[in-house]
Amino acid sequence: MEFTRRDLLTWGSGITAGLVLTPVPWKLLDDTSIWTQNWPWIPQPARGPVEVKNSFCALCPNGCGMRVRMAAGWPVGISGMQHHPVNRGALCPLGFGAHQLNWHPRRLRQVGHQGRACSWSDALAAFRKACAEGPVAIIDGYPDRAASAICHGFARRHGSYRVALRAEQRALLPYEKWSGVPAAALGYDLENTGTILSFGAPLLDGWSAPGRFARLWSVRGAGSADSQLRLIQVEAAPSHTAACAWRWVPIMPGSDAALAAGIALVLHEEHRTAPNAPVPSTTLADAAARTGLSVDAIRDLARLLCEHGPALAISAQPNPAVAALNVALGAIGTRGGIVRRGRRTEPLAAADTLPSHLRAVLVDASVPADFLASTEAEIFRFAAWEGSAGRNDWLLPAPGFLEELTDIPTAPLSSIETYAVAPPLSKPPAEVKSAAQFLMAVDSSIPDVEKIIHARCRQLFQSRAGHLQGEELAAAAPPESAQAFEKQLWSGAVWVGDPPHFGGIPCRLTAWPQSAAPVARAGWTAAWPAPVLPPLATKLYQESSLREPPERRAI
């Protein structure tokens, strides 16, 4: 008897009926769905011991204190360091995603010479040659670090040392000019200010140490009608800061100087200016016309400044008129004003103007990506990520976030001195070298960063000035030995200098500054390839409309 088609069908139905009574279909259902829960192409977090370490953010010269959560030996989370005297546990948004920067697709991993891949030895040879042939300049973006000392020391022998100052630091230059006190020794005593008149300074939006003002603002009655810290934002556009300010004063773009002069004029008329303060040669009507405010509005502003002192004017860009207004307000060297911290006497040489006929310029990785060295010389630029502006003959991959040992000097605009040490927490890729290491390879006589930091710690201990801050140090007695002192610094404690001493800024300003327009940012470019941000920053500008994308405006 042959096997007919019908038999086949019957047999098949038998199989089907049987299978339903076996685990096969059900187990397959189960397994396939479990497979969707563990798709092999979905990354899995590494398993491993979790610990929290203290460190400091070296992405900008403010060195905010951070708590870094480590898993399996890698940073997996960042939060603010409560006991840090400047940022007091607050960080800027980028800080929270910074630990992912080291794997950014635009991370530099290869020495490049005019676009071609090269080796470190090539770069070294070229730089040695340059040093032999003529003077070199070294541009630092984060002065006073141990690494800066290395750059400085090298430059002293082979050329000159320059610092690329950020806008908010440059805003202090007028005072340096008038008083001879280096801008790098000046800070804002915001902790004691009563009313802040901000000329477009993004105080609540990444200005200076972003956490510092945010904390101050919130602690001292943010948003409430009778705030202890009154923030008056003078700005054309409704910025984030303007939105949160106690008062927002929209004025014509670029009329900051006119308004400052107008206010100074009112103060003068009402005999409220500080002694021997200069008087602007403008009229109130003129100021009103330029700013688009009414005369009364300007009078009101002046009244508000005196009503809830001490008052302080802050401008985003260096603006002599605003600086002069502070002189008129008597906010120089006084409580809640511009104060002098530390004993530094020699000013930082700004990198805006480089000496002529240089042979080469070495730009440290701490210099902001949008800095443009105005020179014909050969440029050796260190950077951890792509996106550096201008012509860079040599592009040298530098250590990234938390990848190198560094010390953390005082934040630029802080009113007190601080010092901290940030040991590396993340293993750098094999290919990277810091500028300091590079220079040490060129000149073997230079001490390395670690030695310098040890020396500085010892110095601090011997100076007996200031005290250490750290969460477990709150109650503990100050360390007896230099070793204990250093140990605590290396484990995340912060050295805090003595409180600011008022006075000591002899500001001689006879005539009201004429240059109404803010000083142009010589040596800086407005257009540069989109800066590299922590990948999660896309939450702010691509996956929401909270911010403008970096192509249009750096966050």
């Binding site: 019957t10 047999w11 038998g14 076996t22 059900w26 187990k27 011991p49």
Partner: protein, 193 residues
């Protein structure tokens, strides 16, 4: 008619046989452990008496799981005995400083959060309640991994159809059973992450 029944029946039985006998074997791939580790021998020779002597807690309650290679190196810095496994351990792992790639029978997937601290310290479970007699084993049985889901048979094998021969199931249903028995109700994210 009888012919129909016969053909039908033969197919029916064939399916049953395949489904119950062959399938559970085919569904899993067997993998050998990197080393022939003997719990018994270690208990006997190196006075470790309790599980927690090697599988300890950190002070924050985190469970350390399988000891790191340093723990092995403490005794096995040089070869003890002549076995092949010994040679592999010393030469390939300890000397080179690599961790032994153990295949963990009870390793839960990433979406499961299981706290040994809560189950052992608070609920007072015994290791053997879930891990069976592995502590007394004198050899490591092969690690069986499901070809589709990639789960170890210990955590998946006793699936909806209750297959497999793991000491105690470690599938979600098994956790639930135990929890119900003890009247401890937790939400999804009580055990998932």
């Amino acid at each position: 008619m009888s012919r129909i029944l016969m053909t039908f029946g033969s197919g029916f039985l064939a399916a049953l046989a395949a489904g119950w006998l062959a399938f559970p074997q085919i569904a899993y791939r067997q993998r050998q452990q990197p080393l022939a580790f003997h719990h018994q021998t270690h208990a006997a020779k190196s006075g470790v008496s309790e599980c927690k002597d090697c599988h300890a807690f950190r002070e924050d309650g985190e469970f350390t799981g399988i000891p790191k290679i340093e723990t092995c190196a403490a005794c096995h810095s040089d070869r003890i005995g002549t076995s092949q496994a010994e040679a592999t351990l010393v030469n390939d792992y300890i000397k080179k400083g690599y961790e032994t790639p153990w295949l963990v029978y009870s390793r839960q997937p990433a979406n499961v959060w299981f706290s040994h601290a809560i189950h052992v310290r608070r609920a007072g479970l015994q290791c053997s309640d879930c891990h069976g007699t592995i502590g007394a084993s004198d050899q490591l049985r092969p690690y069986e991994v499901n070809r589709i889901s990639g789960y170890s048979r210990d955590i998946e094998g006793r699936s909806s159809a209750r297959l497999g021969r793991s000491p105690a199931g470690m599938k979600m249903s098994d956790c639930e059973d135990c929890h119900h028995k003890r009247g401890i109700e937790v939400g999804c994210l009580g055990c998932h992450q």
